[in-house]
């Protein structure tokens, strides 16, 4: 195993709310080697987006971050703003969920693409524009020279996400965080965008974190998967191992909630009953216990640690693994 490019150490994020402090991310540990791909999976509100913002140091002003985000041997959470600014772009890049809102509506595609390269690579405007057109062509945008002069609203959602990816790739980052990169897109373009990300990730040998609510998205495209629930990582394993033998009942329920192509028509989709616990009122036991069909008194009373008792290389937080 290589030394880690990114290692998230006991990261917690607490947001103040009128109902009291909300622990959006609860003592999460992750690590990622250069060139590897990690999938972070969980339902809405599980803290996966807050975790990605914590890694990028883009948390809301009021949020409180604990723990360390070590990137190439430096703690991002402790960096000065100017040092952090120099890392963003050439080292760390992000593709946000909704390309309708992540591109500035009043600036041309060209400006938004070129300014990043000018800020970090010291290119003059002609060289940056030429490189911009090449990047657009690489992410599968036809007629790139014309596109540079257009505004985001003149492009479809899928095209805009390709532009956002081109911007993220423009300074050859070592780590790309894709925060639900296909959630806001039509189903027909989702696979294209994911394939594009996978292709560029391999080609550039960059590390990537894909954040998604869809286990199907991470299945064939990641080296490792971390499943999050109520702010914690509840299961973490190499992807083939996870799908071959998932240990955590929540992961199983999440997988069962994906519609199957070979199921007969009108099959009822097994949704997970109930709702995630109120994050301002943490439970003493396992957060998933109230919704879990295997739960007993022990689950209600004590929180299971994230551990690998069988030394099989797969971590899970459950008293009654499958």
């Amino acid at each position: 195993m290589d030394t880690a490019l990114l290692s998230v150490e006991a990261v917690s994020v607490v947001l103040p709310t009128p109902r009291g402090p909300l622990k959006a991310v609860d003592a999460v540990d992750l690590s990622l080697a250069p060139g590897r791909t990690l999938g972070v999976v969980g339902e809405s509100g599980c803290g996966k987006t807050m975790l990605s913002r914590a890694i990028l140091q883009l948390l809301p002003k009021r949020a409180k971050l604990d723990g360390r985000v070590m990137f190439n041997g430096r703690d991002l959470a402790a960096l000065q703003p100017e040092a952090l600014r120099r890392l963003r772009g050439p080292e760390l890049a992000v593709v946000f969920q909704d390309p309708m809102t992540s591109l500035n509506p009043v600036l041309t595609i060209g400006t938004q693409l070129v300014e990043t390269m000018q800020a970090h690579l010291g290119l003059d405007s002609a060289a940056a524009a030429k490189r911009g057109a090449e990047l657009l062509a690489e992410v599968g945008i036809p007629a790139p020279e014309q596109r540079l002069r257009q505004y985001p609203h003149q492009l479809s959602g899928g095209m805009r996400q390709r532009v956002a990816i081109a911007i993220a790739l423009s300074c050859e980052p070592k780590l790309l965080i894709a925060d639900e990169p296909t959630t806001a897109l039509d189903v027909t373009v989702q696979a294209q965008i994911l394939d594009l990300l996978a292709r560029e990730q391999r080609r550039r040998h960059m590390a990537m974190i894909i954040i998604t609510h869809d286990l199907g998205v991470v299945a064939g495209r990641t080296d490792e998967v971390a499943v999050m629930y109520a702010g914690r990582v509840v299961e973490r394993a190499p992807t083939p191992q996870l799908f071959a033998h998932m240990r955590m009942p929540y992961t199983e329920a999440l997988l069962a909630a994906i519609p199957k192509l070979d199921a007969p028509p009108h099959t009822t989709l097994p949704a997970i009953a109930g709702r995630p616990p109120d994050p301002t009122r943490p439970l003493p036991g396992c957060s998933f216990a109230p919704r879990c069909r295997y739960a007993d008194d022990r689950c209600q009373g004590a929180k299971p640690p994230l551990a690998d008792p069988e030394r099989a290389g797969a971590l899970y937080a459950c008293w009654h693994p499958l």
């Binding site: 990028l56 883009l58 890049a93 946000f96 809102t101 009043v106 800020a119 911007i167």
Partner: protein
């Protein structure tokens, strides 16, 4: 775009007709009689009748309006009943004063408001933000004539730096001309910056929450570029609207400031015409002000399209 401009220019016509008709009606409701005003109260009824007939005042109001409109369409705005000065000359005398005052006041107000608004938006909720918004609110409750008197006391009386009143034509002495505009322009700017700052501050705070600002930060852009390019441009639509309304209003003169600082602007021309029942001057000046107002709004609409490409491509 050309179609858009053409359509906006067509809107000008009904607005101008409505404004001039309304001024005509309202002016005719004013008590008093121009002929008696001119001849004095010792005049015989025969003389008054003769003068009324000579000036066309005996005709029904709609006929008078149509006659006036007919002349205007032929380029003749008429001349004052009292002084014989043409409307064109009267307006041409006063308009540059009002325009110079307006430009200096607006530029000063924006120079105060924009940096403070950005500062408040970046540090929203901080002590700086609360102090500046509080100051703006306090300023809103201080009337301009009060500010004018305080400024005169400070800069003209105590420090003796600037003239308190009077106006020197630009062609005669440019420096003295500009100096005579400093205090009036500052008075108007002080009246306006709080509103401009508050609208820009709240729009900017909303913009800074947008995903594309997070994206700009994630791209490692310099903070100045994020604020001035990524955030200011999409936040400035309300600012442009309010500035446009202020400019439109100031084309019609800033009466109180013109009176306090003895500036011969449009405001004093209009009020003088009303007191003297000088309807022709009143009509002509109002026509100019209305055209100016509509033109400013036209420019504001154009600026929307420049600032936001979605407007440019959406409706035109």
């Amino acid at each position: 775009m050309a179609k858009f401009i053409g359509r906006r220019l067509l809107y000008l016509l009904p607005v101008l007709l409505a404004v001039t008709l309304l001024t005509f009606l309202i002016a005719s409701l004013l008590p008093g009689d121009l002929a008696i005003t001119l001849l004095g109260d010792q005049a015989t009824p025969e003389k008054v009748e003769a003068l009324r007939a000579q000036m066309g005042l005996d005709l029904p109001i709609w006929q008078r309006y149509l006659l006036w409109l007919w002349d205007v369409l032929h380029g003749d705005l008429g001349r004052s009943f009292r002084t014989g000065e043409t409307v064109l000359a009267a307006v041409a005398d006063r308009l540059p004063v009002s325009l110079e005052l307006m430009v200096m006041a607006e530029v000063t107000a924006l120079l105060i408001a924009i940096p403070l608004a950005i500062l408040c938006a970046v540090k929203s909720g901080s002590a700086t933000d609360r102090f500046l918004t509080g100051l703006a609110f306090g300023k809103l409750s201080l009337p301009p004539f009060m500010v004018a008197i305080l400024l005169i006391y400070l800069f003209a009386v105590s420090l003796n730096l600037l003239p308190a009143t009077g106006w020197i034509p630009f062609a005669e002495d440019p420096i003295a001309n500009l100096r005579s505009f400093v205090l009036p322009a500052l008075t108007l700017a002080i009246a306006e910056w709080p509103v401009l700052m508050r609208v820009l501050r709240s729009d900017m705070i909303a913009t800074l929450q947008e995903d594309y600002i997070a994206m700009a930060k994630a791209k490692g852009l310099r903070p100045a570029r994020i604020l001035l390019v990524h955030a200011l441009k999409p936040s400035s639509l309300t600012l442009v609207t309010v500035t446009g309304i202020n400019i439109g209003r100031l084309i019609g003169g800033a009466l109180i400031v013109e009176v306090i600082f003895a500036l011969p602007g449009i405001g004093r021309l209009l009020v003088g015409a009303i007191y003297a029942r000088d309807f022709i001057i009143l009509q002509g000046a109002v026509l100019f002000v209305a055209v100016g107002f509509v033109m400013v709004n036209f420019v504001v609409d154009m600026l929307y399209a420049v600032l936001d490409p979605r407007i440019r491509h959406g409706r035109a």
